[in-house]
Subunit: 253 residues, 2 copies
DNA sequence: CAATGCCCTATTGTATACAAGAATGCCTGT
DNA sequence: ACAGGCATTCTTGTATACAATAGGGCATTG
């Protein structure tokens, strides 16, 4: 599709992957100069890339402030999962309709990759691969538009996981992916639908379960965690909380 | 959301509307200089806008050739409608769940606008409003992500209509919109779902019915229409065909 | 010693200048 | 007269330069 400069595209993919693999975390600043120097290109192109990522909901931009990796709000998270459910439902429907035996091979190979990455302790790669499984599946629907949207919501889910999710939330999904494949192979539409529904539910639960308590936690309570540990640069352990617009993070170079 | 420069945003909206209202038709060239002069801004900003429209699937860009309003292929059209069905289904579901009486007022007011525009012979405005009805409805789902995606597919549908649709395909939808509102007011989920499904089907049919014959029509057949009417500047009436990558169109200024 | 206001620097927003590629029109040769 | 190749020109791709603004550090004062 958009295959203009390979350099630009390459940089885009790299940055995107870095975000999805959580090598860059929500709230991190992305200065144009820095990225330009890093990728060996001018700010002009960096700007295009950031604009694209912004359109995909991965980075915030504008307002004379450096671009940052987005910190999804709870409402954002809910909205994304809601849409993702609808889209994945459609994916199952369409893939089932055009199912070919060789698809199973492709999917199983991918799951093997996931297992390998997970086993090698490459947590981050594992997260990315788990997402790409869904994009791969979407590709088998034969519908490019659907692929685009699924890819987008899946990416955003990675971000949501980074903010609200528990650390080890990756490899749990592998088994569920296997079940989806099995249902597809068996041609059991109902089962496939049910499994996928359950899978998304699981992912959502993993992402948001830790938040149940925090949702009703007052700002004072959260901040108490910080003042209690004043002097450290991280809040007390056990909490994956992240102050949205934290001024506590220095991270200047 | 993206509320940086009002000038840039304004230009973006203007261009977008022009495309949706078919004031600019598929295949038309959008030169950066020209737009820049028109909007009183530099090519830099025009480029951003074109990039955005490209991401939304409304214009093609890249390849050292001037940006053009996209000419959706038949496969594109099918894919868009397929996804649109799934999304609108979800919209109905969610809107029904959070239904408030005042929503009916808002929707009915919008339909009145549609009727007014249609009655006043403002065919183009009518087309746009018909699309915006669905965006408005999506907004009532309370899900911003859904709104974005629905808006996007609706826009692309306008483009598809421009290429494949019959000229007078606008006001037919009004009655269907009314029925959707009625079903929502009645709280009848099944009916609402059914009506929406039917509505999308109707739109799709209006868009693609005329294409059945053309799909298998050879380039030679199409061109025959032109040579037969050589000297005129329009092909024979009855055909809304448009040669995809026509070199026959001059349109240089 | 703490709080506050100001200046300065760092970073983005916008425009312009430069380079490269593609299409078109013209010229020439047959 | 027609076809083919070449040069010109128009348009995009990329980089750089300039302007504006927000945030942070520092000095000053109560």
């Amino acid at each position: 599709m958009t295959e203009k400069g390979n350099r630009s595209e390459q940089a885009y993919l790299a940055l995107r992957r870095a975000i999805i693999e959580q090598a860059i975390r929500p709230g991190d600043k992305l200065r144009e100069d820095e990225l330009g120097a890093l990728f060996g290109m001018s700010r002009t192109l960096v700007r295009q890339i950031l604009g694209r990522l912004n359109a995909e909901g991965l980075v915030t931009i504008g307002g004379k402030r450096p671009a940052t990796v987005v910190t999804p709000s709870l409402d954002d998270a809910l909205a994304v999962f809601e849409v993702r459910r609808a889209l994945e439902r459609e994916v199952i429907e369409l893939v089932m309709k055009r199912w070919k035996p060789e698809y199973a091979k492709t999917l199983e190979a991918h799951v093997e990759e996931e297992v390998a990455a997970s086993g090698a302790g490459k947590e981050r790669v594992s997260i990315r691969l788990a997402g790409e499984f869904h994009a791969l599946l979407a590709g088998m629907s034969g519908n490019p538009v659907l692929v685009r949207y699924v890819s987008e919501v899946v990416s955003r889910c990675s971000l949501i996981l980074a903010v609200y999710g528990r650390p080890h939330s990756a490899e749990c999904g592998v088994q569920e992916h296997r079940e989806i494949i099995r249902a597809l192979k068996a041609g059991d539409v109902a089962a496939a639908r049910r499994v996928m529904e359950h899978h998304i539910g699981e992912v959502e639960a993993r992402a948001l379960i830790a938040t149940q308590a925090e949702e009703s936690r007052s700002l004072g309570d959260v901040l108490a965690n910080y003042v209690r540990n004043a002097g450290r640069d991280k809040p007390a352990s056990g909490s994956v909380t992240r102050v949205p617009k934290s001024g506590a993070r220095k991270e200047r170079r």
